[in-house]
């Protein structure tokens, strides 16, 4: 039961969008605005990759954005004092957060969206309690600052995000873990009966999601020279949208990082394009909502969910 969305559809949509906006606003296809586009999309890309791995399992992580915000705040507080070690520490922490959520998900056998929804509230609340305000980062900025530069004209942040995506794509494709993730997404019972340690795989995946959320936090700090308890809150839906628009089925198993990269570009073009074409910003959330629903409706594999709740 392959995902209903034809393999190339997302790429086509992307091209169409680019051309469409390009016609309306030729400068949109300039190297400059494409650089902007790439810079803009790097945090979403990182988040979407995190989301993809979880969705491949057939689960979802609603807490990524909150964890990212938390990470940005923590980094802003800790970078001046501890520099690179601070970064390591924060990444470690967010990884632990992800693992914890995964652990609760498998041990208590709660649906992942419940666990991560609760997590969303919890981490956001903690971030706010730690710091109500934007914390500018000056000392220690260099630890993440390199992401602001550019490599052969491409924003380093995007090179980084794309690199991470590529790495994880390879991992999913080349490693036993990736094979297990897919098997669990497509047939968890069979995986169980084959002696796959489903629990560990799930926990690992959620941990990875946490790690990437932390990295996204770093990217945001790099881009804004500051940490903020609500820095990433507006990124949750775009990141999910990116994954499903790419053609990864919310029911798990089908799709993957490759598709997600396209999805992310689509979403970013939407985000930025709306600003360029000068459409009322009110339409932006509207667009996300519609995009998410339509994409899910198209890609999900209904044969594998007996009853829809």
């Amino acid at each position: 039961m392959r995902a209903a969305l034809p393999a190339l559809a997302p790429s086509v949509v992307l091209a169409a969008l680019l051309l469409g906006i390009g016609v309306f606003e030729p400068s949109f296809l300039s190297a400059y605005s494409l650089r902007v586009l790439m810079g803009e999309s790097s945090p979403i890309l990182l988040l979407a990759v995190a989301q993809t791995t979880v969705i491949m399992l057939g689960g979802i992580d609603l807490s990524v954005a909150a964890v990212t915000s938390l990470a940005s705040v923590l980094l802003a507080l800790i970078l001046p004092g501890f520099g690179v070690w601070g970064l390591a520490l924060v990444l470690l922490l967010t990884t632990a957060i992800g693992a914890l959520q995964g652990y609760i998900h498998v041990i208590a056998q709660l649906p992942s969206f419940v666990v991560t929804l609760a997590g969303m509230g919890l981490w956001a609340g903690i971030a706010l309690s730690i710091a109500q305000t934007t914390i500018p980062v000056t000392r220690g900025y260099s630890v993440v600052g390199w992401m602001q530069g550019s490599l052969l004209g491409i924003p380093t942040s995007f090179v980084f995000a794309a690199g991470v995506a590529l790495l994880i794509w390879l991992a999913l494709r080349q490693s036993a873990l990736g094979r297990y993730v897919q098997a669990i997404g497509l047939g968890e019972t069979a995986a169980l009966f084959s002696g796959v340690r489903v629990d560990r795989v799930k926990i690992a995946t959620f941990a990875l999601s946490g790690l990437l959320a932390g990295a996204t936090g770093a990217a945001l700090v790099a881009r804004t020279y500051s940490g903020n308890p609500s820095a990433a809150n507006s990124l949750l839906l775009p990141s999910i949208a990116a994954v499903v628009v790419g053609g990864t089925a919310i029911t798990g198993g089908f799709g993957g990082i490759g598709r997600t990269i396209i999805g992310v570009l689509i979403i970013s073009v939407l985000r930025v394009g709306i600003a360029i074409v000068g459409i009322d910003p009110g339409y932006e959330p509207l667009a996300y909502g519609l995009v998410v629903i339509c994409a899910v409706a198209l890609t999900m594999d209904r044969t594998r969910i007996a009853v829809v709740k």
Binding site: A7, L8, P10, S11, L14, A15, L18, E25, P26, S27, F28, L29, S30, A31, Y32, S33, L34, V36, L37, M38, G39, E40, P43, Q132, T133, T134, P136, V137, G153, I154, L166, W169, R173, L220, R223, T224, Y225, S226, N228, S230, A231, N233, S234, G255, G256, I257, G258, R259, I261, I262, L265, R271, V272, A275, I276, G278, D280, P281
Partner: protein, 358 residues
């Protein structure tokens, strides 16, 4: 999966190749293709609504088309505020004017940098990072128009304390302690409290600038402190109005003095009705338009380019109007464009300067 990736990269590569160099910034532009961008946090709150209206009012007054006006909302996401700015600048940056309510201080720095790099023009409001000024070679940062939030805080607090007859307890609703203004306004209150030992601060909470969050907090305070509360201080009008409604529910509207900051229409009406004592207005209409006026004058060559302005002309504090029952009548109705003709005229764009901003 593989080939999608390949697809992605080929696509990306193609995109890059397709890139063209952007036009370099021009000193003067045809008024018909100047683009005016109002960049603000969001638009659900009245203050921002007025910023937006002010901007449109200006375009109307100089007979420009509506499509030259762009509204950008960042929902409190600084990264997005900057990205949106950069995105627009893909075309015709030299003739683009930004009138910015910065989401936070670092954002100011980034947006000014962007302006310098692309040749776009920018006017910032409220506050900027310490020691970072337009006249430090930031030639495209036309001006920073600060609001002396300390004064605002002081003057409304002063009004409140007078209304209370100089003694009694007050409660304070803070905004998101996110930006300097919020903090300065509160400092203003604290200074006044220091001067008037008769008045004590019973309690303080933050209600995120928001009316619906202020309501229950005040309700609970009324329950907790009862008639110990002789006055309510709010860091902005929206929360002040939330407080007024909470008072109304308790049958105390108009009996307990309330002050806020911003001078949004509702607050002004509340002052008229006597339900609020005072509000301090930085005049949202003005803030939403003056940046455009400045940019317009510069780009149409009616004033010399900013680099030639005096330091104070490029970095000054806005005249604040404290609205209380004495002067409320003249602010009751939303101003017609004509009311600002004075402020928008190219020789008067500094009319509300009250001295250099820190």
């Amino acid at each position: 999966m593989k080939n999608y990736n390949a697809g992605a990269f080929i696509l990306a590569a193609g995109i890059l190749a397709a890139g063209t160099q952007m036009a370099s910034a021009a000193a003067t532009c045809d008024k018909q293709n100047i683009r005016f961008v109002n960049s603000m946090r969001e638009i659900s709150q009245p203050y921002h609504g007025d910023l937006d209206k002010g901007g449109r009012l200006f375009l109307e007054s100089v007979g420009l088309r509506d499509k030259q006006y762009v509204l950008q909302l960042n929902q409190g996401d600084s990264d997005k505020q900057v990205s949106l700015m950069r995105a627009v600048l893909a075309s015709n940056p030299g003739c683009t004017v930004f009138n910015v309510e910065p989401n936070n201080l670092p954002a100011v720095q980034l947006m000014v940098q962007t302006a310098n790099e692309t040749g776009a023009w920018i006017v910032t409001h409220w506050s900027h990072p310490d020691g970072f000024f337009p006249y430090q070679g930031n030639d495209h940062w036309i001006a920073h128009i600060g609001v002396n939030s300390l004064d605002a805080g002081i003057s409304v607090s002063d009004n409140l304390i007078k209304a209370m007859g100089g003694h009694g307890g007050i409660v304070a609703l803070q905004g998101i302690l996110d930006n300097k203004p919020a903090q300065l306004r509160f400092t203003g209150l604290q200074q006044e409290l220091a001067k008037n030992t008769g008045v004590t601060l019973l309690d303080q909470q933050t209600a995120n600038w928001d009316r619906s969050q202020a309501f229950p907090i005040v309700q609970s305070w009324l329950a907790k402190y009862g008639d110990k509360i002789k006055g309510i201080w709010a860091a902005n009008d929206d929360m002040a109005l939330g407080a007024v409604e909470a008072l109304r529910a308790a049958g105390l509207a108009g009996k307990i003095p309330v002050v806020g900051v911003d001078g949004i229409p509702e607050a002004i009406q509340a002052v008229k009705k006597g339900e609020m004592v005072a509000t301090s207005s930085s005049d949202a209409y003005y803030q939403g338009s003056i940046g455009f006026a400045m940019g317009y004058c510069v780009l149409t060559g009616q004033v010399p380019e900013p680099a030639k302005w005096t330091n104070e002309q490029r970095n000054f504090n806005l005249r604040l109007i404290t609205i209380n029952k004495d002067n409320v009548d003249q602010y009751l109705n939303p101003p017609p464009a004509s009311a600002y003709a004075g402020d928008w005229a190219c020789d008067k764009i500094w009319a509300r300067d009250t001295g250099p901003a820190d």
